[in-house]
């Protein structure tokens, strides 16, 4: 996975805490100016990976190359990257100005330069005029902006962000997501972003790295990850899915839920057990007599833009999203177009999520 001209190369990273494996063989490269997101459930190792890049943790095994040179022995305060921490980690004994100036003063920059840089930063994060405020008098969103300014003012080549929006409410999150993305494009620096929120990852990133149990599950663009999940874990974690056990009868023909369906996948062999993934919005409800499957609507929920209906077919309960509602208790037919049927290899038995 490593690549010569990448900015950061992680090669064969292993890390355990006591007996638990946090990272189990991570290979990953990060390009210059890339917005890359490490996405996964809590405990998947994404924060540990970020902390290894930042220098706060050292791996048991593996290499971390920055512009081709191994920097594992470089202490965090000498690494050319900065971090925005989970709960901001602002210095409560300093005001906004001194928080942002912290890194610059350590570099012994002239006072005038510090001032102009801070001014520019406060403009960037839309906090002009807050210089003298103490940080504990700021709202969560404002503290977030100061934490970003404090990191960015040092003009790092890479900014590491550890669930930076986790403590904000939904509306503020959406705003900040946009702003962060704009900032990243405007400044042209690399962002390594950690989150457990798949929507956030899909909106902001150039590349999404889906992780689980210390391993990378899939790397790709948001669109590719959403449309072509490589395994049931990714499919389930990214968006909602119906995942059924099936059998690949032959290329482009799969059987599941008691029916046979045409699909577009091939190369799985014949009569092979597979997982079949179908997004709820790809399940079409039709008349009882024209569907490929028939079932009964058991519940209906209005979700704002669409209805979410559960449809019982045999012993599997399908999740269906549709803008037209079928009342609970009605008999319906289900059709799925071949293009929307995603076939993946069976997960090893370990996985049950």
């Amino acid at each position: 996975m490593s690549r010569e001209n990448a900015l950061i190369n992680l090669i064969g990273i292993h890390k355990s805490f006591d007996e638990t494996k946090a990272l189990d063989g991570i290979d990953l490269f990060i390009d210059k100016r890339e917005f890359i997101t490490l996405l996964g459930p809590s405990g998947c190792g994404k924060t540990t990976l970020l902390r290894i890049i930042g220098g706060f943790e050292s791996p048991d095994e593996g290499q971390l190359l920055f512009e081709g040179k191994d920097i594992l022995d470089v202490p965090p305060f000498k690494r050319p990257l900065n971090t925005v921490f989970q709960k901001y980690a602002l210095f409560t004994h300093l005001n906004v100005y001194d928080n942002i100036a912290f890194g610059l003063k350590l570099k012994k920059l002239p006072k005038a330069e510090i001032e102009t840089r801070i001014k520019r930063m406060l403009q960037l994060v839309k906090m002009t005029g807050y210089e003298k405020r103490m940080v504990d008098q700021l709202s969560g969103g404002q503290q977030q902006r100061i934490a970003i300014a404090r990191a960015l003012v040092n003009q790092p080549e890479v900014l590491l962000l550890d669930e930076p929006l986790g403590a904000l409410d939904l509306k503020l999150r959406r705003e900040m997501q946009l702003e962060l993305k704009q900032m990243q494009q405007h400044l042209g620096i690399t962002f390594v972003y950690v989150t457990h929120d798949q929507e956030e990852a899909l909106t902001m990133s150039d590349t999404v790295v889906v992780m689980n149990e210390g391993r990378i599950q899939q790397i790709g663009t948001p669109k590719r990850i959403y449309d072509e999940p490589e395994n049931a874990f990714v499919a389930n974690f990214i968006g909602e899915s119906n995942i059924l056990s099936g059998t690949m009868i032959q290329d482009e023909l799969v059987s599941f839920a008691g029916g046979e369906f045409e699909c577009v996948d091939s190369g799985f062999g014949e009569m092979q057990p597979v997982d079949v993934v179908i997004r709820p919005e790809d399940v079409m409800l039709v008349g009882e007599d024209v569907g490929q499957l028939t079932g009964e609507v058991t519940s209906v929920l209005f979700k704002g833009v669409h209805y979410e209906m559960m449809v019982q077919v045999g012993d599997y309960s399908w999740k269906v999203h549709s803008t037209t509602m079928q009342p609970a208790g009605s008999k319906v037919g289900i059709t799925i177009v071949p293009f929307n049927i995603h076939i993946m290899h069976k997960e090893e038995s370990s996985h049950e999520a």
């Binding site: 202490p75 305060f77 971090t83 602002l90 912290f102 350590l106 990191a151």
Partner: protein
Amino acid sequence: MRKFLRGGYLGLLLTFLYAPIVVMIVLSFNASKSRAKWGGFSLQWYQKLFTDTAILDALWLTLRVALIATVVATILGTLAAIGIHAMKKKRANVLMSVSYLPMTTPDIVTGVSLMLMFVFVFGLVYRVSVAIGHPVQLSLGFGTMLMAHIAFDTPYVLFSVMPKLKQMNVNLYEAALDLGCPPLKAVRKVILPEIMPGVVTGALLSFTMSLDDFVISYFTSTTDNNLSMIIYSAARRGIDPSIYALSTLMFLAVLVLLIIINKRSALENVS
């Protein structure tokens, strides 16, 4: 009605607590030495107090011991807290349990154990010094009392600082490193300001414990007396009204100190 009854109860309690103190204050101004009759207002016991070199020496010694012990204990204890906080959980737990030990050990046992240790070490020093031909006979005094005070003060600093460290955002120290601050500087510039309230509490606690200590000083010093030791021996000898004068002054000192502390914390609460 309820408030009245409760107030009455607290009033009775206050009477119980203050009657002896008030009596002492009144008697400190009594011209007559007898406690039977009021011989008129006089400051003679205060005069006597301020010319009593034994008491003045003890006061000076008490202040010196308390001050030096507080400074050393605060530094030792704060560093210890930062160090233990950075350790793995298991080791940290062991150290914290051991630190708890001197706080549960009765003063008298702490006192005799330190005395045993000092006498034991002094015996070794004496034997070695005789062997090399320069006999050195050390005795229990200022130095040993000071070391004992540092030993019993330090855990209090540790236990005052530790909660502040635990409250601190775990990433704060890392944030400083991340911004280019070397580790030692990060401790000074970021961790120390965060835990300052705990350090101050620990220092104040140490200072009052040292000022007030009797039992441990009593066993670890024979040549030098602190104020508590002077009071104890005066009390054993019988009544001396200049001790009343001393009590009155110390009561006033504590009162003023508490009022200042209270005002300060009240102000902090407002702002």
